[in-house]
């Protein structure tokens, strides 16, 4: 383990991103665009936009970082750079934390842009602080990143990696309470939603929307998201094998 190698690896990943101007533009503009769309879809019901827009703020980074990371890590695996890295002194955790750090930075910039547009231009209104929303958004991004790293082990091609998005992300989005409150779901669906991390992300965001000060429930949910991200990272580390058949 080396903080230096973790930071240098994060720097390398951000440098790769920085050479890809179109991806950066998409990362920064698309969520703000979708948020604007959402604002005018609910033009007549600002309180619905306040609720749904807030949840979207937290969920965008999760979905996008999941996608970006699963493809980025798959490239490391298929291009042979991963095998090469594992013949050097770098520790597996340095590599994974490097990814975590790089995409947390990317998510922070992305969340900053969407939040500025949402609060500043679109009139999003939450009782709690926008900083708390940003903090939860970054935790969600790290969770999405960790899950993306993990599923990249189960994909052989970029086509397959992209297909994991509907498999991992859509069910969580449907069951997280965004469309139907989780309490109103049939028992078995409610039970499933209880073990999906995105449910806690949405609950934490809803708490920020409803309360001026951070609540105990929000901190507990935040802890669950962070714990799920760590668990996914550890499982992801187990899929990085120095020796293969």
């Amino acid at each position: 383990m080396s903080a230096r190698l973790t930071i240098r690896t994060a720097g390398r990943i951000l440098r790769q991103l920085s050479h890809d101007r179109r991806t950066i533009a998409l990362l920064l503009v698309v969520p703000a665009l979708l948020m604007t769309l959402l604002r005018y879809v609910f033009d007549a019901e600002p309180q619905v936009f306040d609720r749904a827009g807030l949840v979207m703020l937290g969920v965008f980074p999760f979905v996008i970082m999941f996608l970006v990371t699963s493809v980025a890590m798959l490239r490391e695996r298929t291009s042979g750079t991963l095998e090469r890295l594992l013949t050097t002194p770098i520790h597996k955790l340095d590599l994974l934390l490097g990814y975590g750090l790089a995409f947390a930075v990317a998510a922070a910039v992305q969340a900053g842009v969407v939040a500025a547009v949402s609060y500043g231009l679109l009139g999003l209104d939450t009782s709690g602080s926008a900083w708390l929303v940003g903090m939860i958004a970054i935790a969600n991004a790290v969770l999405g990143m960790a899950l993306g790293l993990l599923v990249s082990a189960f994909a052989r091609t970029e086509f397959q990696a992209v297909q994991f998005m509907p498999l991992i992300v859509l069910p969580q989005s449907l069951l997280c309470g965004l469309f139907v409150p989780r309490e109103q779901m049939v028992g078995w669906l409610h039970a499933i939603s209880n073990v999906l991390p995105l449910s806690y992300a949405v609950q934490a965001l809803t708490e920020v929307g409803a309360h001026t000060d951070p609540t105990g429930l929000m901190w507990r949910d935040f802890g669950i998201i962070a714990g799920a991200a760590v668990l996914a990272l550890v499982l992801g580390a187990a899929t990085l094998r120095r020796r293969t058949a």
């Binding site: 291009s79 013949t87 002194p89 120095r242």
Partner: protein, 242 residues
């Protein structure tokens, strides 16, 4: 002379069938050893075993006195894979500097190695915009960057023009003269003649382990190309009789 690599009765299975059938060989430190053989003969698998990324069925590979793949060897062994394995979306310099960081050497030595492989002019270019030969040299730069004492190079000169091939081989011999041990696979026979020693494998078995001169003598021809053809045919004929 010190033994840098010791391969003892190495058996490797891939995809459920054996691809290396008990290979034994030693490589002296400070030499350039050529690894030759028809496509699919197990050259890359043998190199992967030396680097320590290959699951081994039985037998041992000892590198600088330690089991292949030991953590202490990760600063000692440089590996060039057959496919180009560098980051397409980074420049040549950024790639070399990143691998320099991993080996704890300064950015300046990364920049030097980029010049050494003849990419000084293209250092600021994204790897994705380079020609095939340039890409493979960018990959080579990343293998050389930590000044490893053991270099395992899988087809390092593929796609290079004759002038560059000449320069690269000169560089390999300079590295060996400075004490490094090189294991280099190749398809090109005029390169085989430049090695201190040759390992010829066919279908996962070692059929020659000697100096180029001795290989020529054994096959009764001065032409290494012919020599290898004869040795391979003789080995295949031996298989049919057995």
């Amino acid at each position: 002379m010190n033994v840098a690599l010791e391969i003892d009765k190495l058996v490797v299975h891939r995809g459920g069938r054996p691809v290396l059938h008990g290979i034994s060989a030693t490589v002296q430190a400070g030499t350039v050893t050529g690894l030759l053989g028809p496509s699919g003969s197990g050259k890359t698998t043998l190199m992967r075993a030396v680097v320590g990324v290959q699951k081994v069925h039985s037998g041992t590979v000892t590198v600088a006195g330690r089991p292949a793949g030991s953590p202490v060897l990760r600063n000692e062994v440089g590996y060039l894979t057959q496919d180009v394995s560098v980051y397409d979306d980074l420049t040549v310099r950024e790639n070399a500097r990143y691998f320099a960081t991993l080996h704890g050497v300064p950015a300046a030595s990364a920049d030097q190695v980029v010049v050494d492989v003849g990419l000084g002019e293209a250092a600021g270019q994204l790897v994705s915009t380079l020609s095939g030969g340039q890409r493979s040299r960018a990959s080579l730069a990343c293998a050389l960057v930590g000044s490893p004492s053991i270099l395992v190079l899988d087809e390092p000169t593929v796609g290079q023009d004759p002038v560059l091939r000449e320069e690269l081989w000169q560089r390999f011999h300079e590295l060996a003269a400075a004490g490094a041990t090189l294991l280099v696979s190749s398809h090109v026979m005029d390169e085989a003649g430049r090695c201190d020693r040759l390992l010829l494998i066919r279908e996962g078995r070692l059929i020659a382990d000697d100096t180029p001169a001795a290989v020529r003598a054994a096959a009764g021809t001065d032409d290494l190309d012919q020599a290898f053809l004869r040795l391979i045919k003789a080995s295949a004929a031996g298989d049919r009789e057995a």
